[in-house]
Amino acid sequence: MFGFHYKLERNAIGLVVAVIIAASIGGFVEIAPLFTIGGTVEKAPDMRLYTPLEVAGRNIYMREGCYACHSQMIRTLQDEVERYGPYSLAVESQYDHPHLWGSKRTGPDIARLGGKYSDAWHVAHLTNPRDVVPESKMPRYAWLARTLLKIDDLGLHLNALQTTGVPYTGEMIAHASADAFGQATPDDASAAGVSQRYGEATQVRLFDGDARTVTEMDALVAYLQILGRLSDVAYAAADPSKVE
């Protein structure tokens, strides 16, 4: 073995090829099967897509680096299931480009945050977290309510997501900007189309409490309120024997 190596280390190209081969095997064995093995991702027929407003909110969540302190992945551990809700299933993030499972809980997990608090609570909390949770260490995001949401290019966003495999229809892409406006402006004529395209359960309301404008606060709160609610499969499929 060492004799062979004595020869290998005299050959630059040989060394390069050997490094590439040695380093490639692990990734192939672990990642490639995830795309082909059927059981990796469960089936969830009731799974709905993120609306354009929720996509925009999700992008704000990413832009502000929220994932650095909040996970969206409840592990199969007893205390986590009791604290946060049913453990997360792979299918629940099947449309998450990219995933936002997170790696650190400086703040709590928010995989099942949707519906847990009112819109008004979220707006107050994002404006100054210490107004509602005095011990909180979260930054203030008051400026979100002052910043108009950019909605004119949401069709491009949905189109790119469609390219990656999310089943948005041409109609959804064509109406993306209007749907984003409508979802946060329930009295506007464009609001009806949102429920029609994304399902009756879609939350159409004044997320930031202000009917005049659609702000980044609207989008982020709309996203936070859908977390864990794209599908009920995690409640139906919860298997107590998997929880340790």
Binding site: I13, G27, R63, Y67, S93, Q94, P98, S103, R130, R140
Partner: protein, 549 residues
């Protein structure tokens, strides 16, 4: 810089900088009203400055042909300067965000000042800015000495060094403006990623062309590690950053993979960025500077073979230990855990090889803080690889994951191993490169050593305590069978440790400032080198080979 290039290299350099300027202008035009346009202007201005600098030096006399009988160290010298600049920036932002967790209202109601945007400036600043520049600078130095051949040309090392720093600037400024892929340690958007690939291919070509011209029959161990660093980082970077931009006029993109496959790809990348950026590359550094400074040969050649191939093969399987108990299929979790534990063998082989090399030179470790930096780095390398294998065990991970213990573990590696080996290597290399008898002040090297060590220990102990406390509070049940603590109870319990951590980080930053001052004063000192510097020269070569490059 232009005067060191041949006329042809100046012209080629100008052409490259012109293309880059034009690309910047095109980005600015296509990305009007988008942050892509802002980055386009930045690229156009920086590349335009390079065009002007080269144009002004275009008619300077050709460089002295005698240069070909010497090593080409100017890029290494600038690279060391950039290492310290990024070190100060990255560590300052790190200390700042640590204090943000103590005083969360220090954000001036400004988007760029919140924890979430500053954190990647810290991580990229230290990993890519500080660590990456240190690797590029030292690799050029080590590559030439261990092959006894000069770099193949004068232009490509500058392209790699400056191009890489352009990537770092795009990355850090992007985070502040809100541009991120939200992939940990791979946050820069698609156009920055493409640029890095171009830089990286050039980096590889410098390596392979220099190796081809080497005057030593064997390729030295340090170069295996630098080579693995360059090759595997390229593989990781390309696969992990596969994405679909929403348009060519927008900075925004969506990752090609989603959910569980995306999570696995991300942590395959994330863990192996630790392996091949923060381990392989810096082991390359260690394998040259530590024996050189200690004046001892490497303890065991065979041990270095075992550890090199062990690390190269096994690390790639370990990424899934970041996803224990998640929606990732359990067979992948188990494989990741198994390989993580096996990794202890090559990891400790490297650490032992380093420490045993010091046998016979321990009196110098005692007297010379430079060597002590490297010794302490090897100790922290051994400790943090043990800790890493331990934390990869599923039940241990159930406690440690999502807590500050992970943060402590990362910093034991990043401060204790990566930064200490870098400072040790730089303190060794600076007098050699600038032909000075020694560093400006040996006392200040001592001061830096103790500040860095104290800072690291305070940081790591604070995070061990907070991580364990957090993990245990989350899973504690009371007598009635319900959870004892709310989440906010655990956050309140963290406060004293967050204060301690911020103090530790600040001490480490102070040490880096002391080191920067010491390096600056050494470079500026006029003390002549007392010994004959001609020993540090490439092997005499047939002139045809040099002209052929």
């Amino acid at each position: 810089m232009a005067s060191q290039l041949t006329r042809n290299e100046r012209l080629l350099g100008m052409a490259i900088a012109l293309v880059l300027t034009a690309s910047g202008v095109a980005m600015a035009a296509a990305g009007r009203g988008d942050l892509l346009g802002t980055h386009g202007w930045m690229i156009a201005v920086l590349a335009g400055a390079a065009v002007i600098a080269l144009m002004r030096g275009l008619d300077a006399p050709e460089p002295d042909p005698g240069r070909l009988n010497e090593y080409y160290d100017a890029p290494t010298k600038v690279g060391i300067g950039l290492t310290m600049v990024w070190g100060v920036i990255g560590m300052f932002v790190g200390a700042w965000v640590a204090w943000l967790l103590v005083f969360p209202d220090m954000t001036f109601d400004a988007p760029w000042a919140s924890f979430g945007r500053l954190r990647p400036v810290h991580t990229s600043g230290v990993v890519f800015g500080f660590g990456g520049n240190a690797l590029i600078a030292t690799s050029f130095h080590v590559l030439q000495r261990t092959t006894r051949a000069r770099l193949p040309d004068q232009l490509s090392p500058w392209f790699v060094l400056l191009g890489y720093n352009l990537f770092c600037i795009i990355a850090a400024s992007g985070y502040l403006m809100g541009l991120t892929q939200s992939r940990e340690y791979a946050e820069p958007e698609w156009y920055a990623d493409i640029w890095l690939v171009i830089v990286w291919v050039t980096y590889f070509s410098i390596y392979i062309r220099t190796l081809k011209r080497r005057k030593e029959p064997h390729i030295y161990v340090a170069n295996w590690y630098y080579m693995a660093f360059i090759l595997v980082v390229a593989i990781l970077h390309i696969v992990n950053n596969l994405a679909v931009p929403i348009s060519l006029g927008s900075a925004k993109s969506y990752s090609l993979f989603s959910g569980v496959q995306d999570a696995m790809t991300q942590w395959w990348y994330g863990h192996n960025a630790v392996a091949f950026f923060l381990t392989s590359g810096f082991l390359g550094m260690m394998y040259y500077y530590l024996p050189k400074k200690a004046g001892r040969p490497i303890f065991s050649y065979r041990l270095s073979i075992i550890s090199f191939w062990g690390i190269t093969f096994m690390y790639m399987w370990a990424g899934s230990h970041h996803l224990h108990y998640t929606a990732l299929p359990q067979w992948v979790q188990t494989l990741g855990m198994t390989f993580s534990i096996m990794l202890l063998v090559p990891s400790w082989s490297s650490a032992a090889n380093a420490l045993l090399t010091l046998n016979g030179a321990w009196h110098r470790v005692r007297d010379d803080a430079t060597l002590r930096f490297m010794m302490m780095a090897a100790v922290f390398y051994g400790l943090s690889t043990f800790e890493g294998s331990f934390m990869a065990i599923r039940p241990v991970n159930s406690l440690s994951h999502y807590t500050d213990w992970t943060v402590g573990h990362v910093h034991a590696g990043a401060l204790g191993w990566v930064a200490l080996i870098t400072f040790g290597s730089i303190y060794a290399a600076v007098p050699w490169l600038w032909k000075k008898p020694a560093m400006y002040s040996a006392k200040l090297v001592e001061v830096h050593f103790w500040l860095a060590l104290a800072g690291t220990l305070i940081y790591v102990f604070a995070m061990w305590n907070s991580g364990l406390t957090q993990g245990l509070m989350w899973r504690t049940y009371n007598e009635s069978g319900t959870l004892s603590y709310s989440f906010i109870d655990s956050l309140v319990a963290m406060h004293p440790y967050y204060v301690a951590r911020a103090i530790g980080g600040t001490l480490f930053l102070l040490g880096t400032l002391v080191g920067s001052y010491n390096i600056w004063m050494t470079v500026r000192s006029t003390v002549p080198h007392p010994v004959d510097a001609t020993a540090d020269l490439p092997a005499p070569a047939a002139p045809t080979v040099l002209a052929g490059e």
